[in-house]
């Protein structure tokens, strides 16, 4: 890494023009985009296989159906629950507020396996019916079942987004509407729905991205979706680049949708009033139906899969429940925390860089950086790995120079790449959250800091950081939850000795030993429950923005 005079000068000019924190932001942004760009570029490689149009159309049709129905049901569930909890008062309100977010702790694939077990012949549900003299079982392994599973495991994205949005914004709207004596249906449809467009879109974007990138549920349920096509081309036709091309097409579609959506949203103005003291909750006189709705939702989305897992786990309890499980759990918490920390840190500097930029470049490239969330994890893992194979080959002279002999794949086999792959995959979760957090902060504060002689980096630590701290913690928890549930990247890039919870779930489900897998799944869910509870109980500092 020798620099001649010229490049030193360029570097110096660069340092002068941009602050260090911005340079870190740019570098992080570009780094995150590289694997995604790599993926897009690979898509242009010539490949032989073409899936028949008929198949492709079936895949696309099924995926679109799933997106639409899951989008609607997850949106409906998330929005109505958040709406009622934000503005109405009824017994057990605070309890429900937390527990309704808990399904987020259950990986969709695990929910899928548990539910089909629960409903099928000899399952708990048919046996329960049996005690009433009804012999009936249900086969939910089909597209309806898949839609159901995605809806119940993904709706909390919408729910949480709506909850935190309602907390800040809409008191005046709702209060005005209430003064006008609108009934609750009108209040919800005329005020709630239009008002919640922003969090609804944000939540649904995550839902859809996760849905299209998932393969586990639809493979198990035998549903032919777009990701089936990606896997089929790769696994069955051995055409890796064909698979990448297909996922690049998907990527472009998602990218276009996200871009158009944010473009349209630009024209909308939101009145983010500062929180008026505290919203007076509307007392619900007869809460019976409300409680039935909430309890049913809780049972269906969370309790049932949990019961099934506990039931399965009982059989393997003694085999697995030992010190090793504790060790694996601690390992998992350790690496997940570090990875989440890095992910949030990188998202933060990128968001800081993007926030002041009006130009189209920064916006576009930051959108691109979040696209990893809609690519199947295994492809993200491989493209990160391959990108760094190439980087390593470039850096060989450097490695020799600093005394690493023989070894070529230094970076790509390091923990760095393991962690970095998570960043590429989950950028959408942390970046979008942090970006939304930035929008809540009065931009004049940053400008005021500049007029008070603070450089961008100083402002970053003295203004951005303390004000964003709650948002950062929140993002940390959200990413933690994602990495906790993540499988393909973990499996592919983890150091050989690192034993993880998802690794064991994979081993045992692959082996069709569901009892053993259930114990590990339960530990994941338990950690998830703790994380989700922290998210929901999290209180922001009481100062209100000026």
């Amino acid at each position: 890494m020798r620099l001649d005079g010229n490049s030193t000068q360029v570097l110096f000019l660069l340092m002068k023009k941009y602050s260090i924190i911005h340079i870190i932001g740019i570098v992080a942004l570009i780094l995150t985009c590289i694997p995604i760009i790599y993926l897009l570029l690979q898509a242009f490689r010539p490949t032989e296989t073409v899936l028949s149009n008929q198949l492709l159309i079936a895949y696309i049709r099924n995926t679109i159906i799933m997106i639409l129905v899951v989008g609607f049901s997850a949106g409906f569930l998330g929005l109505t629950l958040a709406w009622i909890i934000s503005f109405y008062d009824f017994p057990f309100r605070r309890f429900f507020k937390v527990v309704l977010a808990l399904p987020l702790a259950i990986p969709p694939y695990i929910a899928a396996v548990s539910y089909s077990d629960f409903m099928y012949v000899n399952g708990l549900f048919p046996r329960l019916l049996g005690t009433f003299g009804i012999t009936k079982h249900f086969d939910i392994m089909n597209i309806h079942g898949a839609i159901f599973i995605y809806s119940i495991t993904l709706y909390p994205y919408v729910y949480i987004a709506c909850l935190s949005f309602f907390k800040y914004t809409s008191a005046s709207f709702v209060e005005n509407a209430r003064v006008l004596k609108a009934n609750w249906v009108k209040l919800f449809s005329k005020v709630g729905v239009p008002l919640a467009r922003l969090p609804l879109v944000a939540g649904l974007t995550l839902v859809i991205m996760e849905l299209v990138s998932d393969f586990g549920v639809i493979d198990y349920y035998g549903v032919q979706g777009f990701s089936t096509g990606i896997y089929k081309i790769w696994h069955n036709y051995s055409d890796f680049y064909g698979a990448i091309r297909l996922s690049a097409i998907l990527l472009c579609i998602i990218f276009a949708v996200v871009y158009i959506e944010s473009f349209l949203r630009r024209r909308l103005r939101y009145f983010t009033t500062s929180k008026s003291k505290s919203i007076k909750l509307i007392r619900v006189k007869n809460a019976r139906y409300l409680l039935i709705y909430f309890t049913l939702t809780l049972i269906i989305t969370f309790i049932i899969p949990l019961i099934q897992l506990v039931y399965n786990g009982i059989y393997a309890y003694e085999k697995i429940w030992n010190i090793k499980l504790l060790q694996v759990t601690l390992n998992t918490v350790y690496y997940t925390s570090i990875a989440s920390f890095i992910c949030v840190g990188i998202s933060f500097v990128i968001a800081n860089y993007v926030k002041g930029k009006k130009g189209i470049f920064a916006k576009t490239i930051s959108k691109l950086a979040t696209m990893g969330y809609s690519i199947p994890g295994v492809l993200v893992g491989l493209s990160v790995m391959f990108t760094f194979f190439d980087v390593d080959k470039l850096l060989v002279p450097l490695y020799r120079f600093i005394g690493i002999k023989q070894k070529v794949l230094v970076l790509s086999t390091s923990v760095f790449v393991f962690m970095f792959a998570y960043v590429v995959r989950f950028m959408a979760v942390s970046f979008n959250n942090i970006n939304a957090g930035y929008k809540k902060i009065n931009p004049n504060l940053f400008r005021a800091s500049a007029t008070l002689k603070q450089s961008t980096s100083q402002t970053f630590w003295r203004v951005d950081f303390p004000l964003m701290l709650p948002t950062l913690l929140m993002s940390f928890l959200l990413v933690f939850l994602e990495i906790l549930k993540e499988l393909p990247i973990t499996l592919m890039l983890k150091p050989y000795k690192l034993e993880t919870l998802t690794g064991f779930v994979h081993t045992y489900t692959h082996n069709e030993q569901y009892s053993e897998a259930s114990i590990y799944s339960l530990v994941i869910i338990l950690l998830g429950i703790i994380t989700v509870s922290l998210i929901m109980l999290f209180r922001e500092k009481k100062y209100v923005k000026s």
Partner: protein, 359 residues
């Protein structure tokens, strides 16, 4: 600024902290290829595997006990592992590729990822038909893809061959898992070899039209479907039956008690078998150790383990099967084809399955 540096370096330290341990381990244990005399201290062999059995790990532990060589296992999806091996090339720290499908092994050979094993011990342990022609890989265990039938609805006298399952009399009575799974791909691939392309296509078409439901779930789910009278016949791998019989879950025991096991094509071409096997990678830096591991896994001692704990058939003919279930199934006639064919025909098989609508 100071704070920034502090946090940054703290994070870096944390990362490199766990990274360093790793690299220290590997550099310490990595012998240079020329060093042949081995003091069996911290020797290792890196195994890329798509198999996930506890029993495998038990064997690796036994191997370590015996030779002092640590088996570093990297588990993963076979395809993903192969991509990594291919892209990483010579630089990758990987010695062996171990997977549960002969087709995949053949593909790895075709891509030039293997080197010759060159071990007389392996050759004497494993019969020629279970080894690659060019000594690039060897099978270690075997499983049969068999017919499971409903004891209630099917008289086993009605059963004869896989080919017969395309007969109209089975309309709406057969279940199996999706075509995305390699077990079914290899089944069809073997048929292309045995019966020819056209006949296989006709057969697959007939089979699909006899499906009781859209293919879904895994092999155990197929058995459960037969037990639930949703279908009369399922095509599944042999060792799952053993696992269900010994399952902790009463539901699985109940389900498997309602079905019978049938080895098809005994009078004709033989039951379809597939193998788990391994080959030594070109990138191997611990070839000696890799050879030792293969020799160990094909030895009588290890082969007994495969059959008794995991219900797989041993490939070493000297092993006396002690497992009661396997014993009760007795000897059976196997498809006599060269297993490399499974890899060669994989793509054609896939095309056929897509064409006839085997989802």
């Amino acid at each position: 600024m100071k704070k920034l540096l502090l946090i940054f370096s703290a994070a870096l330290l944390l990362i490199t902290g766990c990274a360093k341990k790793e690299t220290a381990d590997t550099t310490a244990t990595e012998p240079t290829p020329t060093e042949t005399t081995v003091s069996s201290g911290d020797q290792k062999v890196v195994l890329y595997t798509s198999r996930h059995y506890d029993t495998d790990q038990a064997l690796f532990d036994a191997f370590k006990e015996k030779t002092g060589i640590t088996v570093e296992v990297k588990q993963g999806d076979a395809k993903a592992l192969l991509e990594e091996i291919e892209q990483g090339g010579e630089d990758l720290d990987a010695d062996l590729f171990y997977t549960a499908d002969a087709g995949k092994l053949a593909q790895a050979k075709e891509k030039g990822l293997f080197q010759t094993i060159g071990s007389d011990v392996v050759k004497s342990n494993v019969p020629e038909i279970y080894r690659d022609n060019d000594d690039m890989w060897t099978a270690l265990t075997m499983r049969a893809r068999i017919i499971v039938y409903s004891l209630e609805n099917v008289d086993p006298a009605q059963l004869s061959t896989y080919e017969d399952l395309a007969n109209e009399k089975w309309k709406g009575k057969i279940v199996t898992r999706p075509s995305s799974h390699v077990y079914n791909q290899s089944l069809v691939a073997s048929f292309i070899e045995v019966n020819g392309l056209e006949e296989t296509k006709e057969w697959a078409k007939g089979l699909v039209s006899n499906f009781a439901r859209e293919p879904k779930g895994n092999d155990r789910d197929q058995v459960k479907a037969v037990a639930a009278n949703e279908a009369d016949i399922a095509i599944v791998n042999s060792y799952y039956i053993g696992k269900m019989i010994t399952s902790d879950k009463p539901e699985e025991k109940e389900a498997v008690a309602k079905v019978g096991v049938f080895f098809p094509n005994q009078e004709t071409t033989g039951t379809h078998v597939n193998v788990s096997g391994a080959g030594i990678l070109k990138s191997s830096k611990n070839k000696e150790n890799a050879v030792k591991l293969l020799e160990f896994l094909s030895s009588v001692e290890a082969q007994e383990q495969f059959s008794s704990a995991n219900f797989e058939f041993p490939v070493n003919p000297n092993v006396e099967v002690k497992n009661e279930l396997l014993k009760s199934w007795g000897e059976f006639k196997k498809q006599g084809i060269n297993l490399s064919i499974l890899g060669e025909n994989n793509k054609k098989a896939q095309e056929i399955m897509d064409e006839v609508g085997w989802k």
